[in-house]
Symmetry: C2
Subunit: 229 residues, 2 copies
Amino acid sequence: MISSYENEDKFLNAVDCIIFGFDGKNLKILLIKRDFEPEKGQWSLMGGFLRNNEIFSDAAARVLNKLTGLHDVYLEQLFAFSKVNRDPVERILSVAYYTLIDINTHNKELIQKNSAKWFNVGNFPELIFDHNIMVERAIKRLRRKTSIEPIGFKLLPRKFTMLQLHNLHETILNKKIDKRNFIAKINSLNILIKLHEKSFESSKKGSFLYMYDKEEYEEKLSNGFTFKL
Amino acid sequence: MISSYENEDKFLNAVDCIIFGFDGKNLKILLIKRDFEPEKGQWSLMGGFLRNNEIFSDAAARVLNKLTGLHDVYLEQLFAFSKVNRDPVERILSVAYYTLIDINTHNKELIQKNSAKWFNVGNFPELIFDHNIMVERAIKRLRRKTSIEPIGFKLLPRKFTMLQLHNLHETILNKKIDKRNFIAKINSLNILIKLHEKSFESSKKGSFLYMYDKEEYEEKLSNGFTFKL
DNA sequence: TCAAAAGTGTTCACCGTACACCCATGG
DNA sequence: CCATGGGTGTACGGTGAACACTTTTGA
């Protein structure tokens, strides 16, 4: 069959990743200092070109793995950016993904090797191209999503305390949330498993650790259960 | 400057449009019967290739204009689809957009020329490639969006009756909505202008016509006003 | 006078939100 | 024994949901 497409323009396609983490206090994003042109030396999102055998989410996962060493992370497509001169060298279409990772589990050598660094959301440097817009959009999406679906777990260690979770939500939504109301709401969702184990990291009394009940959670999700936080 | 990108793969990029309309009774989508290969004769979304000087939304608007003759329509990016073999001839990355138009205002000759036809959502033919997935996703998004923001206006004529609006919402959300509660809620949003004019199309008594107050609406939107329907 | 759609309020249950004190422990 | 963070319950107001009858007028 003869291709009917031969007169059409072709383009470079890339993905860029907004990588969120939480250090217990602040919501953070992982940025790299570019060691290649253009804009060498500038801060940027981690990105990469789409390859022939990949779909966009594969490319995003590959790029993310290259920087953090992590597999099987939560990735969500954010938006396809296409401004003609986004990249000064040549036109590149970029699909942005955002991801939530446990800040403690990534591979620190890889981070160093890529000259990457964690920055607080709300206080990070000017980025190249349209990456600032991507980040803004990702934060907005994360906020909205967080109040519909408790995806924040993915930013915490496997075992976490209620107050970590509480802090996380306050941080993401950038507002005070009443502790008792929050705990009551979370409990009513029935997606947490209370362990018979305490963390003594932050107090003498110790606070119970929880895990989230992945199966319960995903079943409810797939049944269209509406979380509302 | 030498391009550092020269070894990377390039791809064809396209847009596909899910075009929603409302005939007073049913939510509809506009599909075309392809008169070109591949899949000639099959039903499909209207689409087109991205050009060198366009961003994705330009391409979507162009494609939409080509089929309907309309300008300045509501367009929202849905998702970037990238399965490797979506198109059997050659790899094409496609960004899907959905749009809401007043079914009465489009150019009927263009529709004919493109062998296009309106189908009820929930009863339309098998589509080519991954277009069925695109449509499903668009419907889901439209539902969610409709209960957050009254975008449904865009599917109605400029002047419409309360019951048209009521029917529209019932249709989109595919469930019964109490008439009095609905009207009270809509009124409480303060984005409708009640005209001193009635429509006698559907009753002897006649029903008042409304317009939506675009400025009010957009101001509230940009102030982050949360609608919730 | 009747058929067919337009238009209009009230009540109740539940949920979101505000709010403050005791507990356990290590130092 | 005290300082620090952990853990817990109740009351109120507002919002969402259920519910039915009267009005208008052309045929």
